[in-house]
Amino acid sequence: MQVETKRVQPVQMVTPANGHIRRKRLRIGIYFMAPAFLIIAVFMLGPAVWAVYISFTNMSLTGVGAATPQWVGLQNFVQILHDAEFFSAFRVSLTYLVGSALIGQALLGLLLAMLMRHRQRAFKAVLGAIIIIAWVIPDVVAGFLWSSFLAGGPQSILAPGLLNSIVAAFGLPQHAWLQDYPMASIIVANTWRGTAFSMLLYASALEGIPPELLEAASIDGASLWARIRYITLPLIKGSIATDLLLITLATLSDFTLVYVLTGGGNLNTELLTIYQYRQAFQFYQIGYGSAISLLILVVGAILALLYIRVLRVDL
């Protein structure tokens, strides 16, 4: 059972005499780990396996598929290939991902982490707290905050939100932002919401860079940009890769912020998760909705594998 070759545990000496201790530990280990892995297997991998099963059926909440779901083979997936709204949702998700996560959160997070490095403590504390509040408040609350912030517009019967009050104060035209610029609105809102995570990750990565390196380069006449380009960025590239993958994975399952902000019915801002939800619970096509959620999971799984490759942790 036991493999002796890869054993590099300096603390315990492994000799045949304490073999029974190892067996005892293995048993304790299995008892300790079993409950957690059982729950994960049933309630996390369960829905994933279920998704595979029902995406091959015509399961629905009403009609024929409700009483006895029929095996329909690849029909759901074929339907996806001919579904213009699916591709529209796919485009929306991709734009949202690139705009709000990869560009918005990651770039702004990196910029904030760099700029905040040598500032006064109190200033850093206050600024950091404001940015982090945006990140820790619940999704629904963030959605309500942004719908109030973007409210109003020239034709609106509602009172103007703060953004329209501000542009009016500068003599600029007011807009019904969520109708006129739906994609830009949700991208900015999600950038606002998620930047703290990237900022914290980059701040801790930057702390690991010895200041002497940057000083030496500065004395040698390297410009600010050259120092960033040739010293800072290469040294934190592991953190950058980690950050990009993690925020991508987080953004893939985003639903609430955009749903609360737009009500879910607007094609211009219909993410794949929202489309999946509408197919399953407004049009009652559980089988088709599951096929879409399975695709989201597969994309996530590929990215997660990539993430582990990039991380190359020592275990």
Binding site: A36, I131, L145, S148, F255, I286, L305
Partner: protein
């Protein structure tokens, strides 16, 4: 040189102040509107400050039920995750055994899957298991989706407590259980707190899962209740909405603040392996 450094520093402050305003400005409305008895969507300083909005939503029963449900979801999730992740992380941190490496990779892999997007198949599965419209169904899914990351975090925190301390306790006659209770858990307390807060917040803030799984009005947590209550009314009382949103967001902010010192270290350290 000194002048240039001063200039860069000033420029940095200017940019940071602008970025700070971008993050601050959307937060103004709920604070001012919640204190304003006649609030609208506009940001105005109330003519007179009043806590009437908070008083109203608390006394007319808008808060107690949904917040109670949210607490049940969050505390059950937290306790289960701490116990299950703590147990699972112990052998992963302390023992060597076959397939440990692949197991850790599997945990890391599952922790980063977009599992919360799987509500449609979850609904179908729960329909077969009779877990639709039950709090325990929601809790079990929260626990399962938080566990992989929390096991990973917990293992990293356990790793930072030297094994020698436990061995010393064993030599002095302590049992495995005693060494866990008196050596490992106290020393890994910050880590346990981080895992607890993380899992609490997973359950406290989630909207999508209870939206799908729960149907009875009296089971809805605050996240769904605030949406259905204020989202479906024609005439929204904005002051009350703002007060509700603030009350609902408060535990998240407070809990994060309590553990923030360990949180960043634990999470970013954990993420970097």
């Amino acid at each position: 040189m000194a002048i240039r450094r001063g200039l860069t520093s000033t420029l940095a402050y200017v940019i940071l102040v602008f970025l700070g305003l971008f993050f601050l400005v959307p937060l103004l409305w709920p604070v001012l509107a919640s204190l304003n008895p006649s609030a609208s969507l506009s940001v105005t300083v109330p003519a007179h400050f009043s806590l009437i909005n908070f008083q109203t939503i608390i006394t007319n029963g808008l808060v107690a039920g949904p917040f109670g449900n949210s607490l049940i979801l969050a505390i059950s999730t937290m306790l289960l995750v701490i116990i299950l992740a703590g147990l699972a992380a112990y052998p992963l941190s302390r023992y060597q055994f076959p397939l440990k490496g692949p197991l850790m990779y599997a945990i890391l892999f599952t922790s980063s899957l977009p599992i919360l997007a799987l509500v449609t198949p979850l609904y179908a599965m729960y329909a077969s298991l009779n877990l639709i419209d039950t709090l325990q169904g929601v809790i079990l899914f929260f626990v399962a989706s938080a566990l992989p990351f929390c096991i990973w975090l917990m293992k990293n925190f356990f790793d930072s407590v030297p094994f020698e301390l436990e061995e010393a306790a064993w030599i002095d006659g302590a049992s495995t259980f005693q060494s866990l209770m008196y050596i490992l858990f106290p020393l890994a307390a910050p880590g346990i707190a981080v895992v607890g807060v993380w899992s609490f917040l997973v359950a406290w803030t989630n909207f999508f899962v209870p939206l799908i799984i729960l149907q009875s009005q009296n089971l809805l947590p605050a996240s769904v209740h605030i949406y259905t209550f204020f989202g479906s009314y024609g005439q929204v009382n904005y002051g009350q909405l703002a007060a509700y949103a603030l009350l609902y967001a408060l535990p998240a902010v407070v809990l994060y603040t309590v553990v923030s010192r360990f949180f960043v270290r634990g999470v970013s350290g954990g993420l970097k392996g």
